[in-house]
Amino acid sequence: MNWLIAILQTILFVALSPLLAGWVKCCKCWLQNRKAPSIFQPYRDLLKLTYKQPVVSEQASWLFIKAPYVIFSATVLAATVVPLIAVDLPTSASADVIVMVGFFAFARFFLALAGLDIGTAFGGMGSSREMTISSLAEPAMLMAIFTLTMTASTTNLSLAIAHVLNEGLILRPSFVFALSALILVAVAETGRIPVDNPSTHLELTMIHEAMILEYSGRHLALIEWASQLKLMLYGVLIANIFFPWGIAQSFNPQDLAYGLMAIMAKLAVLAIVLAISETLVAKMRLFRVQEYLSFAYLLGLLGMLSHIILEASR
């Protein structure tokens, strides 16, 4: 039964992630006085890309063709670890939050290699930028997550969320810092404004798009889907760690349905916040990104410090 729920939840993750991307796009269009595409447009895009024949360069090695599958499956595996509608998952017990960060790093490693593989100038540039940013973002993210794990004294995400849930409403200074750090990192890692602009191609400042410029057809579909999944993963992490109310603690259908509704509402609100911030903030210069991320790291560090200083038992 537990495993069934875990599998169901992963399928939900994969199925709902284009919807979230579509919703973000809708919100952004409304805010910018444009006519929004249908909320299901990302599904249509993915379907269209799947039908199309992929075009692969003659210079491409096997790595270029295999990379989309590796990236997609690593991201799906990361999704299995994160509780979406219910806590107490067997998958969370077998892999903790550090493994999740590891899956992200694994996917990113292959994405960067694929960007380098073809040998275009854009691909190499994008890979180098992506690695620079992620090497700075990862410590900040781990710092934010360690704050949570130290509070719950476990790195198991399910148990940690259940711990936060059972404690009820407690104002924790450290969580304020950890939340802001995690939001900053999530923006950087999912390639949103102000770090990267997800909707532009052929701009000299692009990062994620530069790496996948050579992909087409179903390969592109897989990579796009993986990045939508990553956006949703970060959204769920933020929503479920810091505002876990509503998540199902038992496996009866009513609780699960309630959990699903709760997480969808939370994600919808988060997406609106993301759209507003993307509309208000301009994209940063690339060389300012390290300042931004070191600020995120500082916040994570402060969260950890204030956990030890203000909250820990003596």
Partner: protein, 225 residues
């Protein structure tokens, strides 16, 4: 003693302490003057909230007066005055290039640890909440000093000075459950007078060396080097 066992008031005070500390860090890394002044006003607002919270939970009506004073002076009047001066001197478009920003930030983080370490033996006998809040307010003071050291614009120095005062005020509210009214009024008017005096100083610095960059004060040597 865990945070779960504390009452809601103490939790809220601790969160406020954390947020006040955060605004200090935000000020430290801010190169634009207008934004620096905005964060300073934000810190003042957090202080107002803390004071009002203390007034409510301690049932101490005169603290409301000091909350209102804080709101008027530190959230509205002083930021407004500084802002007007920045606009008047046409400095709002300048971005100050902060030297060694990362080092300053890390230095700030270590100052926070240091202030906790220093205060640990001092308040060991009293409650842990007091220790925490005092540690945060000491670090706000030290961060204010660091702000004055690391920034070059005279207006940033004034903001740093005022944030030192904010740290003292926070400590006074949390540790003493509100000072006597006379002292509070005195401090508030001191701050007001200081703000006005600084305004006059700005004017004089500006007329004598034509900038508010304090590094340029080196030009005032009597003999040329």
């Amino acid at each position: 003693m865990n945070i779960e066992q504390l009452d809601f008031y103490t939790q809220a005070i601790l969160s406020m302490a954390a947020l006040v500390g955060l605004t200090s860090f935000l000020m430290l890394g801010q190169g634009r003057l207008l934004r620096l002044i905005f964060v300073f006003a934000l810190q003042g607002f957090l202080l107002t909230l803390t004071t009002a919270l203390a007034a409510y939970s301690l049932d101490n009506p005169h603290l409301y007066i000091s909350a209102v004073l804080t709101l008027v002076l530190k959230v509205i009047f002083i930021p407004w005055m500084l802002r007007r001066q920045v606009l008047h001197m046409n400095m709002h478009r300048d971005i100050e290039a902060l030297k060694n920003n990362t080092f300053v930030m890390l230095g700030g983080a270590s100052l926070m640890v240091f202030s906790y370490y220093v205060l640990h033996p001092v308040v060991q006998s009293s409650s842990a909440v007091m220790l925490n809040a005092l540690a945060v307010s000491l670090s706000v003071m030290l961060l204010g000093m660091l702000l004055m050291i690391s920034h070059r614009q005279a207006i940033a120095h004034v903001v740093g000075f005022m944030s030192i005062e904010n740290g003292l005020f926070f400590a006074a509210i949390v540790a003493t459950n509100g000072m006597p009214m006379v002292v509070e009024l005195g401090v508030a008017f001191d701050v007001l007078v200081a703000a006005v005096l600084f305004g006059i100083f700005f004017l004089h610095i500006r007329t004598s060396i034509d900038t508010l960059d304090v590094d340029m004060l080196n030009r005032l040597h009597e003999v040329d080097k």
